[in-house]
């Protein structure tokens, strides 16, 4: 039954943003779309920003709400079972405390260094927000907001700003030396030459970090879905029920892997953010 139909891209629509969200229904394919409202773009000087909610914005909001519910419940359970810090928590509070404590004691404090406590809420929020957004992509009809370059770029930019502000607050005037390379132990001639060469490198290094953060998360989350869709697409490519079990089995395996990747990428984003904050706080040139 091989028919040479028109080439249809079923993958791109699934991984790109849309002005509609999918929801389960009993129509053909068990999927319906709900159009999201379109608002007129807001003009800020020369740039026009279309603030209309999109599929990824909605799923980002859902991830944030789930994250809020989970963490607030955890905090309540924690408070209920610890009696004001006098006892170890139990149950759900204890489980979430393990996450919080691991990130605080093994990620933030060793990497950020002394006075790293201030950055604990930021890193924890990054971790849990990204984790919930990643996992939302694994729910049927869900969408991976962290597979949107805009979302990951914004998170990376927030991290960039936090890192630079942490550097300015910690180093004071010494922060300039993280932008302008100015060695102290070489003659003036060599120094000027080195500054001329190295300053662009320093700036490029500074910008590469958030860029890498954004691309890493985006690419990881997108790639998983591309693989899943490609595997499922094999069934339609062969137009046969007989080959279906193999792609389905592989898709299940990839989905399990995706759960791990969701956790791993959230952890890597949080870990690298902590590492960058620590680097700039101890940077000496």
């Amino acid at each position: 039954m091989l028919q040479a139909g028109p080439a249809i891209d079923i993958i791109t629509p699934h991984i790109t943003d849309a002005h509609a969200i999918d929801y389960p229904c009993l129509h053909t394919g068990f999927v319906c779309e709900m159009a999201l409202p379109r608002w007129a773009p807001i003009h800020l000087g020369p740039v026009a920003i279309d603030m209309s909610p999109t599929k990824h914005v909605v799923w980002l909001g859902i991830a944030a709400i789930l994250c809020l519910i989970t963490m607030l419940m955890a905090a309540r359970a924690h408070a209920r079972t610890t009696f004001g810090g006098q006892r170890a928590p139990s149950g759900f509070g204890n489980g979430m405390e393990a996450f919080v404590l691991f990130l605080r004691n093994e990620v933030v404090i060793p990497n950020v260094g002394p006075k790293g406590d201030k950055f604990v809420p930021f890193i924890l929020t990054l971790f849990f927000f990204i984790l919930f957004a990643n996992l939302c992509g694994l729910i049927p009809y869900g969408s991976t907001a962290t597979g949107n370059i805009g979302v990951t770029a914004t998170l990376a930019l927030i991290t960039f700003v936090v890192v630079e502000i942490a550097g300015m607050r910690e180093q004071g005037r010494g922060y300039i030396s993280t932008i302008v390379y100015w060695p102290h132990d070489v003659p003036v001639g060599v120094k000027s030459f080195m500054t001329f060469i190295m300053t662009p490198v320093e700036i490029a290094g500074k910008l590469a970090k958030p860029f890498a953060l954004a691309i890493r998360l985006f690419a990881n989350m997108t790639a998983g879905h591309v693989v899943l869709l490609a595997l499922i697409g094999l069934i339609f490519t062969f137009q046969s029920y007989i080959v279906a079990p193999a792609p389905v089995a592989m898709a299940v395996a990839i989905s399990l892997l995706e759960i791990f990747v969701s956790l791993l990428q959230a952890f890597i984003f949080a870990l690298l953010s902590a590492v960058f904050i620590g680097q700039i706080r101890t940077a000496t040139h």
């Binding site: 139909g5 249809i8 891209d9 079923i10 791109t12 629509p13 991984i15 790109t16 943003d17 849309a18 002005h19 509609a20 053909t28 394919g29 999927v31 779309e33 740039v47 026009a48 920003i49 279309d50 603030m51 999109t54 914005v57 980002l60 909001g61 944030a64 809020l68 963490m71 607030l72 955890a74 905090a75 408070a79 610890t82 004001g84 810090g85 006098q86 170890a88 509070g93 979430m96 405390e97 919080v100 605080r104 406590d117 604990v120 809420p121 930021f122 924890l124 929020t125 849990f128 949107n148 370059i149 805009g150 979302v151 770029a153 914004t154 998170l155 930019l157 927030i158 997108t222 339609f236």
Partner: protein, 189 residues
């Protein structure tokens, strides 16, 4: 199914957000920023701060408990040491008291024995003196009796009363010439 996918793809093409996969959309970025900052503020205040605070309090409570246990153990050790020293001191003192008492008893005993000895000597001496005195008196009595007997004897012999003053003096002077040592053993008997 094929038709459905075609249809869906067409719909998506209509609704796709401008830009495509690799160009970020400004609206999404602003939304992300807003959602993230809201989440950061709420979670920091109502979730992470209470949990971290409770954990820190527990860590502090544990550290305090460990420190207190250490301190208590040190105290207990010191007290035990003190008690041991006190017991040793008490034992020493008891030994000393016993030794002192023994020495005092010894001294008292010695004194008493000495005193007893002294008293015995004194008693003996007094007895001796009294015996001596009794003997002297007996000798004196015997002498007087002897005079009377001698005179009575002599009177019988010569049939005449010799009882006059001169005779009596004669016998008395004779008896006085006899040393008392000759009379003493008899009187002593």
């Amino acid at each position: 199914m094929h038709f459905f996918l075609l249809q869906e793809a067409a719909q998506h093409a209509d609704e796709a957000v401008s830009g495509g996969l690799l160009s970020p959309s400004g609206g999404v970025m602003v939304w992300t920023l807003v959602i993230f900052i809201f989440l950061l503020l709420v979670l920091s205040k109502y979730a992470f701060k209470p949990i971290t605070k409770a954990v820190e309090e527990r860590e502090k409570a544990l550290a305090d408990a460990i420190e207190a246990a250490q301190r208590d153990r040190d105290d207990a050790n010191r007290l035990l040491q003190d008690q041991r020293e006190q017991i040793a001191a008490a034992r020493d003192e008891a030994q000393k008291i016993i030794a002192d008492a023994r020495a005092a008893a010894e001294q008292v005993r010695g004194k008493l024995i000495e005193q007893a000895h002294g008293e015995t000597g004194e008693l003996l001496e007094r007895a001796r003196r009294e015996i001596g005195a009794e003997r002297d008196r007996a000798i004196a009595d015997l002498r007087l009796e002897a005079i009377d007997l001698a005179i009575a004897g002599a009177s019988r012999v010569i049939g005449k009363n010799l009882d006059d003053q001169s005779n009596r003096q004669l016998v008395q002077s004779f008896l006085a010439s006899v040393p008392s040592s000759k009379l003493a053993p008899k009187a002593g008997m």
